[in-house]
């Protein structure tokens, strides 16, 4: 017979621990209440700046911010960063709760959405006093406007490109494509790669899932994705694009359906880096990241042309905006100004987001660039003469079309739908989404 002991000491210990933990919990973790209370009239402003990215980007951004704080001793900057996949959800939740960060990085596809829903401040009143935009390309700056008002400012610029693995090309004896090549040139070139490597490498990653690739295609054909905030492409346009990419896939020049399905935005899943393809459609701002992922030599090639048009344009890789509910809009705008104009910021930030917006500063950096960064600068310089004008910011719902493109094309790639059927479906759904 055994008498169970009373766990009195156990429970007392439990209660004690509970109170300690509660105290710790309250102490740890700085709350916004403290900072906003302190900020009231002391003259020192605390602003929050949010962006998406990994630890490497965080390091360079924090370095730039420290430089800003040194030159602006009355402003403290708190930072928030998270991976891209969850960034938007986080910002949206914060917006719903009324505590969006003061300075916020805005993705191009939701720029109009945020502006039109009243989340961002109209920055025109700070130009040119606090915010000096004269050093940036005028049409580039204009891409940050919604309904004629400057709600956002582009933080960096990139361009469309085809990333090519030169080492593998050389080993196959296939020459590098020349600027001005056409889509049929690309088809032949990619097929050549697949054949000569005996199927070991695909020529190019199937671009059928890429919304920006279709964007360039439309521009090459003298059309555009949107006009006056509505859809301007037709099912026939899209079907044409998808027919072409399907032919790439069928001939073996383009990656198989399953391999294409692995492409999820993560660099590590890019078939080029995994050693499965030789070329890939992407933005030049990611070139350094590609280079870091392989010991092969890589280079950038301009897009295939249609009638001499490359369909390339100076794309703002991301925008900066000030929250409409910010308590310190002026200070947030000062930080914005610093991040797009200051040479110190440019040196600290590097090219992790793309090319620096201020043209003079960009020139200075370009002249001293080396390695992969130099390749990017050279590429941009070589193509700056052939650019189409930067399209206006896409209307609300564009980010949904981006994911829909991937999803619907996968059905084409796996043989569940024909390009014509899929294109028709896509357009009818897109019409419902845009302008909702």
């Amino acid at each position: 017979m055994r008498t169970p002991r009373i766990r009195l000491p156990w429970q007392a210990a439990l209660a004690l621990m509970a109170s300690v933990v509660a105290l710790l919990a309250a102490a740890c973790g700085s709350g916004p209440a403290a900072s906003s209370a302190a900020a009231g009239g002391s003259g020192k402003a605390t602003i929050t700046f949010a962006w998406w990215g990994d630890a490497a980007r965080a390091k360079v951004t924090l370095a730039a911010i420290r430089l800003f704080e040194k030159s602006h001793p009355d402003i403290t900057v708190k930072t928030e960063y998270s991976p891209f996949g969850d960034y938007e959800q986080k910002i949206n939740t914060q917006a719903a709760g009324g505590n969006m960060p003061d300075l916020v990085t805005v993705d191009r596809s939701v720029q109009n959405e945020y502006a039109q829903r009243g989340l961002l401040l109209d920055l025109d009143k700070y130009v040119p006093g606090t915010l000096n935009l004269s050093g940036l390309d005028a049409s580039f700056v204009a891409s940050g406007k919604t309904d004629g008002k400057q709600y956002t400012v582009p933080m960096a610029q990139n361009m469309q490109a085809i990333v090519v693995d030169v080492t593998r090309l050389k080993s196959l004896g296939v020459p590098l494509p020349k600027p001005g090549w056409t889509w049929s040139d690309l088809a032949a070139w990619a097929k050549e790669i697949t054949t000569r490597s005996h199927g070991r490498w695909y020529g190019i990653v199937d671009p059928g899932t890429l919304w920006p690739a279709f964007n360039s295609w439309e521009i090459q054909h003298g059309k555009s994705l949107y006009a006056n905030g509505k859809i301007a492409f037709t099912a026939a346009d899209l079907a044409g694009f998808w027919n072409f990419t399907s032919s790439l896939r069928r001939s073996g020049a383009g990656t198989s359906a399953q391999l294409t399905a692995t492409v999820d935005g993560l660099p590590d899943d890019e078939p080029l880096l995994k050693g499965r393809a030789v070329a890939e459609w992407d933005y030049d701002s990611l070139f350094q990241m590609y280079s870091a992922g392989t010991s092969d030599k890589l280079t950038l090639v301009s897009l295939p042309t249609v009638g001499g048009k490359t369909g390339m344009f100076a794309q703002p890789s991301m925008m900066l905006g000030v929250s409409a509910t910010s308590k310190y809009p002026k200070q947030a705008t000062e930080l914005l100004n610093f991040l797009v104009n200051s040479p110190a910021a440019a040196r600290a930030l590097g090219t992790s987001r793309g090319l620096f917006p201020n043209l003079k500063v960009r020139q200075q950096l370009a002249s001293s660039a080396t390695g992969p960064a130099k390749t990017v600068y050279d590429y941009e310089a070589a193509n700056s003469g052939d650019l189409s004008p930067t399209p206006a910011a896409p209307p609300k719902g564009d980010n949904q079309l981006l994911t829909m493109m991937q999803r619907v094309y996968q059905q084409v790639a796996f043989g569940q739908l024909s390009p014509a059927q899929a294109a028709a479906q896509f357009v009818s759904q897109a019409k419902g989404i845009i302008g909702q």
Binding site: M1, R2, T3, P4, I6, R7, Q11, L14, M17, A18, V21, A22, L24, A25, A26, C28, G29, S30, G31, P32, A33, T48, W52, G53, D54, A55, A56, R57, A58, K59, L62, K78, T79, E80, Y81, S82, P83, F84, G85, D86, K90, T93, A96, G97, G98, N99, G265, L266, P267, D268, L273, K274, G275, L286, M289, A292, G293, S295, S352, R353
Partner: protein, 298 residues
């Protein structure tokens, strides 16, 4: 004395050497079966550990579980990957949140479970249905109104939204668990105690809680593990990097805008697995000392 499965019973009457051989044979078979099953189950984890010792090039290119060139550099890299804060900070934050959540659930849920399992009161059926109902609603829909509430309380970017609700028994899952376990305790014990003059609180504290130890430990273990791995809530409520917990910290290693650091991430994931594993290893022994029958005998 613990409840042993029938297999441990030995029949009387068999000759001793044969019985011993039979027992050895069964024991060996048992070990073989369990080891095979354990290897199959553990393979992905072993793969993870192996990858944490691979250099970056090998990780993308090769799919073998064990590294060709062993390197330990992923560990320090992962530890110091984020500027201004080490991974150790994330581990500490997670530990605090988990400890708080554990205590909260043990306290709040056991009280509520006692009421549902042992007490008869008006509206009991309805309230029980509401309690079960609250488990059924997908969390993502509650998150926005809850966020607004916490924001008004000024608790955003602290650990409070992750801990305080537990003390208020918001994890109905565990209330339900404890109710089921309590129903396995015969009422005769309660009745005996009541006759001796115990009020409800004493019964709860001195009789039910001790007998509920397996369920309490299960609750503690599960709360710890759910909270340790809970990504979404911690992402939403924690803004400054210095407040991040392990799941959010791990996600930082993987991002579209830069080459993900798989090696350091696997290294930190292995590191993050250790506390939970050790916690479990320590507490699962307590599960073995089943306590239930002792109150009934004698």
């Amino acid at each position: 004395m613990m409840a042993d499965t029938p297999g441990a019973m030995t029949a009387t009457g068999a000759s001793r050497p044969a019985r011993r051989a039979g027992r050895h044979g069964r024991s060996l078979l048992w070990h073989v079966l369990v080891v095979i099953a354990a290897l199959v189950v553990a393979y992905p984890v072993l793969w993870m550990i192996g990858t944490s010792f691979k250099p970056a090039q090998e990780i993308i290119a090769s799919l073998r579980p064990w590294p060709q060139h062993v390197t330990v550099s992923n560990y320090p890299q992962g530890w110091t990957a984020n500027p201004g804060v080490t991974f150790g900070r994330f581990l500490l934050n997670s530990a605090i949140v988990c400890a708080g959540a554990m205590l909260g659930n043990l306290f709040g849920c056991s009280l509520a479970a006692y009421a549902f399992a042992r007490l008869r009161f008006r509206l009991r059926g309805l309230l029980f249905a509401i309690m079960i109902g609250s488990i059924l609603l997908p969390y993502h829909v509650l998150v926005v109104p809850q966020y607004v509430i916490f924001r008004h309380l000024g608790w955003v970017n602290t650990f409070l939204p992750l801990i305080v609700p537990k003390f208020l028994a918001t994890d109905a899952f565990f209330i339900f668990l404890m109710v089921q376990f309590m129903r396995g305790i015969p009422r005769e014990i309660d009745e005996a105690a009541t006759i001796d003059g115990c009020g409800h609180f004493r019964i709860y504290r001195y009789i039910i809680l001790p007998l509920l130890r397996p369920a309490l430990i299960t609750t503690a273990i599960f709360t710890f593990i759910f909270t340790w791995n809970d990504y979404f809530t911690q992402l939403i409520y924690l803004n400054s990097t210095s407040n991040f917990t392990v799941p959010v910290g791990l996600a930082l290693f993987v991002d579209q805008s830069g080459l993900s650091s798989y090696g350091p991430m696997m290294a930190m994931a292995v590191l993050a697995l250790l506390p939970v594993f050790l916690f479990f290893l320590a507490f699962q022994r307590l599960l073995v000392e089943g306590v239930v029958t002792s109150g009934l005998k004698g």
